[in-house]
Amino acid sequence: MDIKPTSPTSPPPQDQPPLAVDKAGSTGTAARPGDRIFLAFSRGSGIALLVVMAAIAIFLTVRATRALTKNEGSFLTTFEWAANGAHPNFGIAVLLYGTVVSAVIAMVIAVPVAIGIALFISHYAPRPLASTIGYLIDLLAAVPSIVYGLWGALFLVPHLEGLYKWFDDYLGWTGIFEYNDGTPRSLFTIGILLAIMILPTVTSVSREVFLQVPKMHEEAALALGATRWEVIRMSVLPFGRSGIISASMLGLGRALGETMAVATVLSTSFDIQPSLLDSGGGTIAQNIASGFKEATDVEGSVGRDALIASGLVLFVLTLIVNGAARMIIARRKEYSGANA
């Protein structure tokens, strides 16, 4: 054993007395000092990751408690965010409503379309085109959210006005599709924008799952004379159901936490609009980004802590959604590699 170590982090392995090897043999673990140190480092990194997660939860909770004890309103029901003054009064209701509603709108729009695209890539597109399209969709997942925000504010918003008037004409009687004012920078616009943003995520996960459907199932269905749609309905969709659910939840998680695109497009106000098309409302992440500069200016206020408290709510929300998605994936072991 005359191996010279090259890694600076690991000391040279000592000449092993045979006894140590025997000891190690009984447990099956590493016995050489090099091995032991390497294992310690890699296990340490794993533990460090867990520590970071725990630290996030702890630090946010500590700061949030500080803000909540000074809050003069009710954190759950106050429709206001005035945390910077001497009498802080703030509540999360409006922000939570905006976050959940815009994310749900995004899901409702994006998931069916994403399943369609995933099916298009896996089952409909001409072969040479399919991999190129899949590749393009993956590239689009890398477009930064602020660029979506810029595009949303300067291109999408002006083009939605006509559509909203149309909605108002035909669906205005429902109340939620009423449209009253001039700039459509509303929660519904955010929903559309978020849908476009999470589309690549949901598509690529569903596509992976659709490609894993056993060929035998599909060929058996085809041999029985099924049309392509019947093949999809009978073999592809049942096999991919849990994959689709977890893909949607991963998309939901991304939509809930999206910050800059919302901060750029939404015109905010602290009340809950009965109509989805009218400007107003806000989301948790957007409120943190937009309200941050103001909150730091005032000495001794709990402004930043109040924002951290709302961040904690967002953290817990995404933790639940992502945890649930991952558990659904984990139940089907073969999907574990579906998403990076």
Partner: protein, 359 residues
């Protein structure tokens, strides 16, 4: 529209039968006629009634196309085939619906961004430039982005790499399972939450100032799980025979990992790291909280506020005038080009170096 012909070959029952027993079929150009009709009615009708937004024209055309192809197939080929046709049209419509906004995004960015993008723009900062006037550039933001991303990579890659090695090479039992689960959950942490965490730890509690380094730490938190996941996948692809051969020669496990396993997977690992870099380079939320923005050039990431490309875009958008919008689009173009080049290079490496797999 090749879907009908593909349909025929995908339906093995129809091929060997006698022609008298075969169902009536639409010719290969079947969907083209309804498509043309739908487009004419959708756009022409839309223009006649005076619908303002082209989005409406498109939506009307799409719905008409789906209905027309369904009815036509129902008439000629029967109910089951019509359902099949309905699904096919819907899938195509979904695809087109998704491609249009994404294409428009890329087109707008390139079109509007290229108006002010030149050497001057890349080589100057915003220091001393009037917000309302044209001029100024993106140099300070470029420096900021490069430094913050580099520091984040230096923090995240070693930890991520070692964690992945632990999970694949050593990980058994409860700890490994817990780490795997939390790595997965961690990929979903909103970037603003990572920013808030560093804010409360580094700036509020330890009382450091806003700096590029603080932002880089938040970016590292976002990057770590991505690196772990991709490295893990790559290490799993390394054939066990290689490990066994090395161990059988008496090579210690740690040297086997460093000298055999990692070099085999290095292509995929590099790809994963570069994709992770591309992801965090576009993050703006933690930058708003931790780096704070600075119109002047600050080359030192450890002291005082910096800027970054995503932050610069946000800042220019907030200025709310045409010269600023132009600058924002140009910066967006620079950022997209940066991210896309990283992506393309990463995928090139992946294709060139990837260990051969079944699929």
């Amino acid at each position: 529209m090749s879907n009908i012909t593909v349909n025929k070959s995908a339906d093995p029952a129809s091929a060997p039968q006698l022609s008298t027993l075969r169902q009536a079929r639409l010719p290969w150009w079947g969907p083209a006629a309804p498509l043309a009709l739908a487009l004419i009615i959708g756009c022409g009708g839309g223009a006649l009634i005076g619908l303002e937004s082209k989005i409406q024209w498109g939506l009307i055309s799409a719905i008409l196309f789906v209905v027309f192809t369904y009815l036509l197939t129902l008439k000629v080929e029967g109910r089951r085939q019509a359902k099949n046709q309905l699904a096919t049209s819907l899938v195509w419509v979904c695809f087109l619906l998704a491609v249009i906004p994404l294409a428009s995004l890329v087109y707008e960015t390139v079109d509007r961004g290229s108006t002010v993008l030149d050497g001057y723009f890349l080589g100057h900062s915003m220091d001393g430039t009037q917000r309302m006037l044209a001029g100024g550039g993106v140099y300070h933001a470029l420096i900021g982005t490069l430094e913050q991303v580099a520091i984040a990579t230096l923090i995240a890659v070693p930890i991520g790499l070692l964690t992945a090695i632990y999970l694949v090479e050593y990980g058994r039992g409860k700890l490994a399972k817990t780490v795997t689960f939390f790595v997965d959950v961690m990929t979903g942490i909103p970037s603003i939450v990572a920013g808030l965490f560093i804010l409360s730890l580094w700036i509020i509690m330890l009382d450091f100032s806003y700096s590029g380094f603080a932002g880089a730490m938040a970016l590292a938190i976002l990057m770590m799980p991505v690196v772990v996941r991709s490295t893990e996948e790559m290490l799993k692809l390394v054939p066990n025979e290689l490990r066994e051969a090395s161990l059988a020669l008496g090579v210690p496990k740690w040297r086997t990992i460093i000298k055999v396993v990692l070099p085999t997977a290095i292509g995929g690992i590099t790809t994963g790291v570069m994709l992770a870099v591309a992801r965090i380079a576009g993050e703006s939320a933690p930058i708003v909280l931790l780096v704070f923005g600075n119109p002047a050039i600050n080359n030192n990431p450890f002291e005082d506020a910096q800027s970054s490309l995503p932050y610069y875009i946000y800042e220019q958008w907030q200025n709310g005038n045409e010269p600023s919008y132009d600058r924002a689009w140009a910066a967006a173009l620079v950022l997209i080009a940066f991210v896309m080049i990283l992506n393309l290079v990463a995928r090139g490496i992946a294709r060139w170096k990837a260990p051969k797999t079944g699929r």
